[in-house]
Symmetry: C2
């Protein structure tokens, strides 16, 4: 309530100062430029169809580094460079999960090993499946009950939240800890119900971690497959057999890609970015090809419209967000070492869907100032500035006190396709993607002008 009143009053003040009209005209120029001449949609097609998915350490990722370097140059960056990053390398290889009831026949289940999981080194691992619906239920099981078993963590992705990221956060602990929890009670491997809002059989991969546990495998199955397994387990004992070849390899030297337009008043930096890597399935279109091409669109739009930027506007295409965050960590470390002043950092890593706002992590005064601009954004569909989070890649900057933010696209479709074979270019709508780039450019324009 208070917030709405504050917004209203500050907007009146802006009107009095006559800034709103000038900004409103600039917002319209930005929108018209991007919706009519934006290149991000075609660039995303190029990235997804000619390079495809691009997990850290893969040949495709290295191609995407050269691709991003080229696109930043074409967009008009004054300076483009690669930042060295040591990245973890995880490879999937062949994998299969089969089940059978009693002495019946083996039946293959559609599955994906979770990212960073160790596999079975090409050997079959067998065991009886036991199912739990929650961590609380798992906690009640004794090591004797789990020993040599396969634990099926059957926790549903809640449909009740309006913002699907809340359902994702709610269920994420199952993906990240299923293997280590299972290992600690002597289980052989873990199966998790995918973090998926779709009622289909598509498995969703994503990062897991071991901590200090034995490194046993963890795999994900899709929602309808999980439903079937749950139903089978009600009436009979089910044996599972896993054979997989995934695992961590030696670290490699790779790169984040950075391009900037130098500030006309000073060299303090405004970052806009996304992550260049993706999981090793689908095409990494929404996650996060969208964020990459939108960030490049911001820079291109400043150049094409001849907007004189006061501060340096820097596009960062971060390496290795998905399974290590090494690009973000290295970027933060370098900023710190060079004592480079950063004013603001904005990430787009929630999909290329129709934008609804920008989430803000910064002090209250800055939040109030940005919210006072909301009447300028509302005609473009961005009304929600209430989120208090920001992108993972810029979390090291946030820890250093830099105000950080993230584009908030409509979230209804994201977890249907997140980390799956379905995250393809065809699932991205041109106008939605371009409108997201529009909101990002408008916000960077306001920050550059006012901070």
């Amino acid at each position: 309530m208070k917030n709405i009143l504050t917004t209203a009053v500050v907007f009146l003040s802006l009107n009095l100062f006559g800034q709103t009209k000038e900004d409103s005209i600039q917002f319209s120029r930005i929108s018209t430029e991007i919706l009519n001449k934006g290149k991000s949609y075609n660039e995303l097609k190029d990235l997804t169809k000619n390079i495809g998915h691009r997990l850290s350490g893969s040949e495709a990722y290295e191609k995407s580094v050269k691709w991003a370097e080229q696109k930043l140059k074409e967009a008009g960056a004054d300076k483009v460079w690669l930042q060295e990053v040591m990245i973890p390398v995880w490879e999937r290889g062949k994998e299969s999960l089969k089940i059978k009831a009693g002495n019946g026949k083996w039946k293959s289940l559609k599955m994906l090993s979770l990212g960073n999981s160790e596999g079975t080194q090409g050997k079959d691992i067998f065991g009886e499946i036991i199912m739990v619906k929650s961590l609380a239920e798992y906690d009640k099981l004794s090591p004797e009950q789990v020993k040599n078993k396969i634990v099926f963590f059957n926790y549903p992705f809640s449909q009740s939240y309006i913002q699907t990221f809340k359902a994702y956060s709610d269920a994420a602990v199952y993906r990240s800890t299923a293997a280590s929890l299972t290992a600690k009670k002597g289980g052989k491997f873990a199966i998790v119900r995918s973090l998926s809002s779709a009622y289909d059989d598509v498995p969703h991969t994503g990062a897991m971690r071991y901590g200090d546990s034995e490194k046993i495998p963890a795999v994900a199955i899709g929602n309808t497959t999980a439903d079937e397994l749950e139903s089978l387990l009600k009436s009979q004992k089910i044996t599972a057999k896993l054979n997989s070849n995934c695992g961590m390899k030696a670290e490699k030297l790779s790169h984040s890609v950075i391009g900037e337009i130098t500030g006309n008043k000073d060299k303090s930096v405004i970052v806009v970015g996304g992550h260049l890597d993706s999981w090793d399935v689908g095409e990494g279109a929404h996650d996060d090809g969208a964020g990459i091409v939108q960030s490049i669109e911001v820079l291109r739009t400043f150049k094409n419209l001849g907007i004189k930027n006061n501060h340096t506007i820097r596009v960062v295409c971060f390496a290795n967000e998905e399974n290590g965050l090494k690009g973000g960590l290295q970027y933060g470390k370098t900023v710190n070492e060079n004592s480079e002043k950063h004013l603001f950092a904005l990430e787009s890593d929630a999909g290329g869907f129709s934008p609804r706002g920008i989430a803000l992590e910064m002090d209250d005064a800055k939040i109030s100032q940005i919210k006072s601009w909301s009447p300028l954004f509302i005609p473009y569909g961005a009304y929600d500035f209430e989120g208090r989070y920001s992108g993972a890649d810029i979390s090291p900057l946030k820890a250093m006190g830099v105000p950080t933010a993230e584009l908030v696209p409509d979230s209804q479709r994201y977890f249907d396709i997140h980390h799956t074979d379905e995250d393809t270019f065809e699932k991205v709508n041109r106008r939605e993607l371009l409108l997201g780039a529009t909101i990002m450019t408008q916000m960077i324009y306001m920050i550059d002008k006012n901070w």
Copy 2:
């Protein structure tokens, strides 16, 4: 600005009266019920896949009448009936459009005759194409310049508007009047660039009208086809050949489908609806299968949650919106004849996309009251109550002074698929559709409680 302040102040008042909390709990119950147990997505699958497109007068439309009657009964309506409507019948038949340059070869273009257009009765019609970019340009042509020609109205669907319905309104006159304008200057037939936001070759049909002109044919071509034709015309004369069998047939008796739950306090009526008919291409999924299943979801949710409705809540599945509006007209006429008091009418006919608000056509006091409820809606993604329009089917009610409204879904994707082969079930997202039904139910709940 004023509006935001008004909203804020009224919300504070609501808080003081303690109504907000009760309503907020009811909103959450509605949302949880629909997002978890809603049947509209599965019902839409049934309608689109088992019946498919359903133009007025077709056998499929008659099947959809029986289908809607059955679904309203299953949803728990106290009373379900069919309302007789005399509907126009237009049929497409086989059709082809070919072009050639000079003495070259004929090349087929992907096309659709516009709805209600007369065809060529299976004969070839030839002529040279002349292109105009606007009505202003066409107005400058003399009858001698147009005589025996084919006029290509090449007016672009603007990408600049944020709300794509504005681009649609802007360009709609070309679809509706191209044939009559061409006829009046002696042209043989008209070709229009589709009202399409997509850069593809998909033609979009939709209603045209003749007025007092000769009834010559009008056809639509997709954007990339229009681009190619435009390019060809720059350097050479192009001849076109049309052969089509479409045309109006004799009127038929058909029906709108109506179901209601009787008011507990009085029998005044709150209408919620969409149109049951569709164009004769695709599956009529977004247009307007979505509105039909969402409206039925509203009724079902009142029943399932045991919400006692003060007034009668009536679902109307209107006949013949697309090429005659006869269902809406007949409904209005019947209401008038029966002197049936109507409190409010809400239509969903802008696609089953993620909702952003509700457009309102009523007096200022009622608009202010509804806007005062917006803090309740914002957590569900509905923040936009600024639209001053409502659905076509309920325009006769509006003319009688009934407050009318329309669901405002995100519009970015709608005109990619509107009136095309691409308007299929697969283009509808489950959560987006259900969230639209949620906002509709919440609004009907507030109106029923407060009016």
